[in-house]
Amino acid sequence: MSVGLAGMIALAGCKKSLNYTPEVFVAQPQVFKDQAGATAAVTGIYTQLQTLKRSDYALIGIVGTDEARCTYQSQGYGDYWANVTGLDVYDIKFSSQNYQLSGFWQDCYIGIANANAAIQGIPNASIADPTVSSRLLGESRFMRALFYFYLVQLYGDIPLRTETTPFSAGVKRAPAADVYKQIIDDLKFAVANLWVKSKNPGIGRASVEAAKALLGKVYLTQKDYADAKTTFEDLINTNGLTLLTDYSQLFDGQHENNAESLFEIQYSTDANNTQGLQNLFGSYAGVPVPGEAWNSHTPGAGGTVVMATAYYSDTVFDKNNDKRYLASIWPHRYDGNGNTMDWWVDPGLPTIKKYDISSSDIDIYNSGKNLYYLRASDVYLMYAEALNELAQTGAALAPLNKVRNRAGLQNLEDAWGRTPTQAELRTELLDERMRELGGEGWRWFDLKRTGTLVSRVMTHNNPHAYYVIYNSGDAHPVQNITDKNNLYPIPLNELQTNSALSLTDQNPGY
């Protein structure tokens, strides 16, 4: 009997018994076992893009440009929002410690890490159909290019991590040219291996069309106009581009993944799949008695963080004829009952309408509305830009006019009564891009590409200068943009935690 007990003691101490793995999650080897796992891991890359663009990080590219700016009270909401305002007025908050700026960096690299893991893992997964395997690889490389394209434009030289870099390794900043080389490499692979839009198993997946459009944009950004032109022509001739007839349908929430769309970021009203941009772009829809509950379903309602600049909301449009004006701008402000009411002194200007929720959305913090990344009119305007830069100004008018005609405007040469010069068209295209694509996240990159960031921001987005005429001793922040702001600062925590970098590896001026 005591022998039996001693046996029990020994049994209780059996070594093997400690092998207990929590089963609520999986690790790398389980994920890339089969097609289902590999597909799920690619889905996770898209999720990261959805995360990046669902809230205030999406303001990068929009504020701090000539189309949109932060309200002055957004600064007073607290330190966090003062950081958001920093993106707009390039003040002391526009530093290596800015939350949005470092968060944008981090979120892009999480996307890259997921893409890298997929690019490394997919070849090991047992997938019967090789075209599926190469499509999944193509999607992963498209997404990696997308994230790197954001980073290289914003931050310049950046750590270039690919599927062979261990995550714990410190990585030096690679020259921007190397990053672009990797991006073009990835996109060429994507063009060759992705499926066309109509054949894709899921509508939101990256397609050949999206990859060509993005590749063209990358060439354009690099001022490689010849390759840009070829790429756009290939897209237009081989795959075709469609514009919706009614511009306002693009943003009514009822025409998601339409014929014009090449790649859009998908949201839905399911938990964790919503975006909250209207909270940033809308304005208070107060109730008559202060302090009572706000209505988060009123048209145009929101947290009064971002307004259109006077240039975008008041100047750039031919308000009477351009159909895009009322589809892009809320000229009125509404109270909780849906009645129009006066604007405050600030914002004082209309808000951007493109993110406003529709009846099928939950509220301004939770909208299921998709966001455009690439659409046909963007390609037409980029094509026009490439042609104009190649001194084919006359030919550039054709794609531009497609966009103008859809907006209810005459051909440019008819409206002007003459053909513009190359320089005139350059400026006109920049304005046209604002009319067509305003508030969609490309403005900062357009201005940087065309070398007009500092001058246009100083001219059109200096709230203090603007408001001083209404109010002496005005509290609006002063615009501080200078040439150094053509590059964002590298986040401080990257310099501190990346063992291959030191604090001196910062962009100039920060």
């Binding site: 009997m1 005591s2 007990l5 029990m8 003691i9 020994a10 209780a12 101490g13 059996c14 018994s17 400690l18 207990y20 793995t21 929590p22 089963e23 609520v24 999650f25 999986v26 790398q28 799920a40 891991a41 690619v42 996770g44 890359i45 898209y46 990261q48 007073g76 607290g78 330190d79 966090y80 981090q106 690299y109 997921n114 750590p159 714990s168 390794a169 990585v171 509508i203 939101g204 997946r205 993944n257 998908q266 839905s268 399911d270 938990a271 964790n272 799949n273 202060p290 302090g291 009572e292 509950a293 209505n295 009123t298 909780g336 849906g338 299921g368 509290a475 986040p491 990257e494 935690t497």
Partner: protein, 1027 residues
Amino acid sequence: MQIPRISGHGRFFRSIVHPRILFILFALGFILEVSAQQRQVQGVVQDAKTHSPLALATIHVKSKGVPDVTKITDSRGHFSFNAAPGTSLEVTYTGYKSIQLTVNDDSATVTILMDAVYGKLEDFVFIGYGKEKKPDLTSSISSLSSKDINELPATNLASAIASRTPGVEVHSNGYAPGSGNSVNVRGLNSITQSEGPLYVVDGVAITGDIRDLNPADIESIDILKDAAAAGIYGSRAAAGVVLVTTKHGKAGLATIDFSMYYGVQTPNNPYHMLDAKDYYNLKKFAFNDADPVTYAPDSPDTKFFNQYELKSIANGFKTYDWLKAVTRSAAPMQNYSIGISNGVGKNKVYFSGNYQDQKGIMINTGYTRYAGHFSIESDINSIFKLGGTVNVDHNVTKGVTSSVYQNALTQSPLMPIFDSTGAPLVITDQSTGTLTIRNPMTSALYSVNNYTANRTMANFYIEVTPIRNLVLRSSIGADLLNAESDVYYPRNTGEGFSTNGSAEVYNTKSTDVLWENTATYTWRKGDHDLNVVAGATYERRENTAMDMKGQQFPTDLLTFKNMGSAGIKTQDNTNYDGWIVQSYLARAIYKFKKRYILNLTGRRDGSSRFGQDNRYGFFPSASVAWRLIDEPFMGFKLKSFLSDWKIRASYGLIGNQNLPYDAIYTRYNNAQYPFNGSNATSGYQVGGTAGNPTLEWERQHQSNLGMDIAALNNRVSLSVDVYNKNITSLLLPFNLAPSSGFYNEQINVASMNTKGIDINFQATPVKTRNFEWQMTFNWSRYKSKITHLLPGRDSVSLSLRVGQPPSGVLVNYVFDGLYQQGDDFTLNPNGKPGDIKIKDLNHDGKITPQDQTIVGYNIPGGWGGLWNWFRYKSVTLTVLASYEYGQQLNNLPYTNLTYYNSWFGNIGNVTKEGGNCWTPTNTHTNIPRPNAFATSLKPLPGGPDQGSSYSIQKGDYIRIKSITLAYDIPGAVTQKMKLRNMNVYVQALEPFLFTGYKGLDPDNGNPTQLENYPRYRTFLVGVKLGL
């Protein structure tokens, strides 16, 4: 009446001893018995004070030449025995001092008076896998008996030990019925992985708290404080070990104990808000101050107030008392317990049942508990013994939305609470269907906020004694918890209106099974005394959780009960995790001449939470004690004064296995993406925290030096313990480069040191036949500081730095008075006179986060309790007080209730003190200028929520925790009523709090948590009776 007692030994021998030998023995006994001169003597055993009879007292009758006889008193305390010249009696009774006396030659009756023992001076103390006499302890252990525990009608164990045990800090997590407590043994023991102590109930280690255990079922609590005491629990002992022993059947006749109390709780609110007239003036002033154009002083009232408020103004500033509306003026509380013990024969059984119902001081809140407890111990024969304990508990907590109390405080006193139909006044906008006027009454009345727990803690064992001195024991224990929290906010509440009802059902289930096998060997020869325990244990725990949240319900009628009808599911999640710990343990206690005592303990733990190469850890400890009092050199003179004197020393290593259960794995998390804009597709995403398979235990090296001294026949006693803890390998998240795609990984890197002292003093200043006064006093303090953080860095944040405590460091901006007319406004260009001024610590001309500094420590300089017990004849008075001093609290709730326009309720009411705010004509005040848009706090980069050193307040306090007046009904009366004993009492709980702190309660680490529920006083009447 005599109870024949058949001992297991006797029967065993009968079966193996030859019948003939048995006959001879029997005959011998017979001869001896008849040869003595014998006579029948009657005895009675009574309580020395009350003279009430003591049933079931055990009397050993010893006469020369006759085998000892054991007698047990009947329900009237009577017994009879055969006495011969020189017969002596040894009387024992649980809770009383044992007595030995010799029977006089001629007395026919003997009356034995027994003195009740308070405290556990002579009792056994549980030490984990065994027990030890208190005088022989080598380490630091605090003990409480059931009498101590049941002095207060505590709903959970933690509040029963609060302020009774030195070195143990108990803070309340709130006033709401059913709220838990946080318990720290000797300060904090980790930076990131702090948990309360390990609770061990009847040998079963419990993960998490034990608030579901009914305190009335507890026989004793022993708190193992130093490493040598706790070391037998190895890797789980770092935060101390609380051993809980539940009630067992006692040898003797069946007894029934019944107790009940009934009481009421009345509000004890520290906040006094402005009345309607003052509120009216302040609001108008504040709006005018913020926007003199829109809200000019001569603007009509309609600019400021809604139609209902205007009506109240017209009615001569009718004031509505919102706080009164959401609270009960007298909330009843009742409790009934019955316990039955039966210990006749080979089986000892104990059964108890308990019902408790506490209505909360806030309407629609409360706590109900049904508890059952069953214990059996059965001697099969001299070799085998079986036993088991089952605790079953079902409790329901009805909570309240956290905002109700705050909103009631800040609600406009001009607003009517109810409409003409008697329903809470809410205004729904017909055109949009939304709520335009919110009312906290709707949340209080209509929202559902229930927490239901079902818990079973059970333990069964078999003990085998194959040879003398060796006991083998195998036990299986289980802790099964199933808890569910149900929440529903209907559309007429502030929380549910914009979502058309929102619901959550959160269900957690945990299963913990522990199998332990131990062998205990005792050996005694001459001056040597050895006790060795060795064993192996295996524990497996599994947790599952299910969380569902939904919105957009078609009707409020079904509340949370039909999640399927939710229009939108905002959460739909399950979780599953668990771990295995498997250990070997050993302990040897060696005593030489009963005065030199050595204790060696070791435990080797293996845990599945760690990576392959780091699963095992060894945790050894050693302790010694020297009983100076028993030394021959202690002279007679000294000994007549000193009754006890002992020195203890210990050193040991204990661990902390609490790390996130997935910390060693790089996990792929669930991700979703709605391809085609609607249907979400599931995916995986990697990121966040990277796994680190090289993680190890947090290690604590603790040394303890203690002394126990008692004098004047134990009338005065003192225990002092000083300790030093070096805690190393502390887990910290180590930030990875953001470009890696991961945020951080956990590494074992930091270390800290804690030094402290615990003192316990007991005295019986007065002891006469009619009047007696006993008291105990304890005082504790500690100092913790971080000695090492990340490599090359001596700070992680402003509050986490080398040289500072691991938590409780209050970092904030420094309040520098209010701006006055003509001041320099460089630091706050938007500021106006009356705004808060912040010190520019780094003199850069701006207020930035770098201007924050340490403005206080939320760590007590010392704390403890004072217990006083007075008896006059059969009446006793008990007063228990607790105190704490030296800690500072960031009293944001009070500050925000005092500033006009706080984050509580944008334009709400303020305290009466807040009415004395800065105005151009009232500049000598520290209350800032009222303003509707919070500009006075605007310069703070953290925004208005963050406050400044302005809200740091001293948390020193003395609290009278209870005053109890009790009367023991005299034995003559109880005998007539056929009762064993009866006690009636009245009690006041937390009647007084003396503090300069201006918030709800200084006894809380995080003041904002407490602001959810008001304070109250409780008055009880109760009765305890024994059958």
